[in-house]
Symmetry: C2
Subunit: 235 residues, 2 copies
């Protein structure tokens, strides 16, 4: 089991050989897990606001989600807050979600055997499923502007923790991720408060989102990529 600490390192792995877990804790993969668990038919992650609009033109029934500087982009249904992915809003719907880091990570992993989505929200369900795969597992941290970030790495460490005892060989990034998780696990929110990223998110006024994204095991769905759409994995 390996951990790719940033999309800029993914060329170092033969992604074809792996089941890949995409991790973008604040907030894309948390929102995706919540939305799929709440009955969204599909979530389509895109990198640019303009791509959202192209989807909306051909599929007016789609919901489109995009933010700029913490504000919902004009004409869009909602932003990137996980609270927007409630059952009332997304059940039976397809959502096109704009996310830079998460989309990069997905795109760069597209040759993987399978791509699933992880967050603290579905930690145990995801880990239990990973134990059954019998495939090499690569945990891909979407990071922040192509660089390492603590929250995604900590979550990778949490998955490793759940898979311990399964005979997995860990690469150095995986060892580090799990060690960092040991330091943070007692109070993840407090641990992450020191990060610069956390400070930036605070300034965006999305502290409630952050707290929500650190809820553990409030969902059980595992979003899986099929073609361009994330849908609920039928295990």
């Amino acid at each position: 089991m390996d951990v790719c600490l940033s999309p800029a390192l993914i060329h170092l792995y033969d992604v074809e050989k792996y089941v890949v877990v995409i991790i973008d804790i604040f907030r894309a993969t948390s929102s995706i897990c919540y939305g799929i668990d709440n009955g969204a038919d599909a979530i389509i992650p895109v990198a640019e606001v303009e791509e959202c609009l192209v989807y909306k033109e051909s599929h007016p029934e789609y919901l489109v989600a995009a933010e700029r500087n913490g504000e919902v982009v004009k004409g869009f249904d909602f932003g990137n807050s996980p609270f927007s992915y409630s059952r009332e809003k997304v059940a039976g719907k397809t959502v096109v979600l704009t996310t830079t880091n998460g989309t990069q990570a997905l795109h760069l992993s597209r040759k993987a055997k399978q791509i699933v989505i992880g967050s603290f929200l579905n930690l145990t369900a995801l880990s239990d499923w990973l134990k059954t795969t019998n495939e090499n597992i690569l945990l891909v941290c979407a990071g922040w502007k192509y660089n390492f970030n603590l929250e995604d790495t900590l979550f990778a460490g949490a998955v490793i923790e759940q898979l311990k005892g399964g005979g997995y060989v860990l690469d150095d990034p995986a060892l580090a991720a799990n060690d960092l998780y040991q330091l943070g696990k007692e109070d993840i929110k407090a641990y992450l408060k020191k990060t610069s990223h956390s400070e930036r998110l605070k300034q965006l006024g999305i502290e409630d989102d952050i707290a929500f994204c650190l809820n553990i095991d409030i969902t059980t769905a595992i979003p899986v990529l099929t073609d361009t759409k994330l849908v609920k994995l039928i295990a």
Copy 2:
């Protein structure tokens, strides 16, 4: 103060704005620190054995160092063991050293304000000097085959530890490096035993080298890059 966890991430930093510390604990930067401290006039790091030979042709007086699979390359003066950089062998000499990861990191950092070399051997001398620079500091981990490794990251964390209280703002990789150092500092050798890299080095039969590279503060020289050569910094 920032930490670049791998040469593959260095494009994310404006190296022009930094004093850069190159870190390749097993074994290049440890050998370089030891050699310069032991009176080598200069050490020239190169990526390929063939480059060594080009230097040797134009400068027959240079010592050349290269290894393949743990053995000294035929016709070379010595390999990459720090024990080869003793005063008896290198004082007053110029050494051309073949090192893949370290040379990559140096090359990619070449636009920095200044490039110095760090290892556990010169930890405190280096840190004390860094405190006086009044420049942004970037600790560049040479890593292993362009990816993150624990030993270089741990050393970055050790430097950060020494500079604590200096008002430095740390990026996420720096926070992680320092946290990992907290986990490993009581017994760095034991901490690093779990890494795959350590296992690989063990198979090369260079356990004595590894133990030596973890000696703290047995040297005081700070190697600095001038043009293509590493020489002793005159502070």
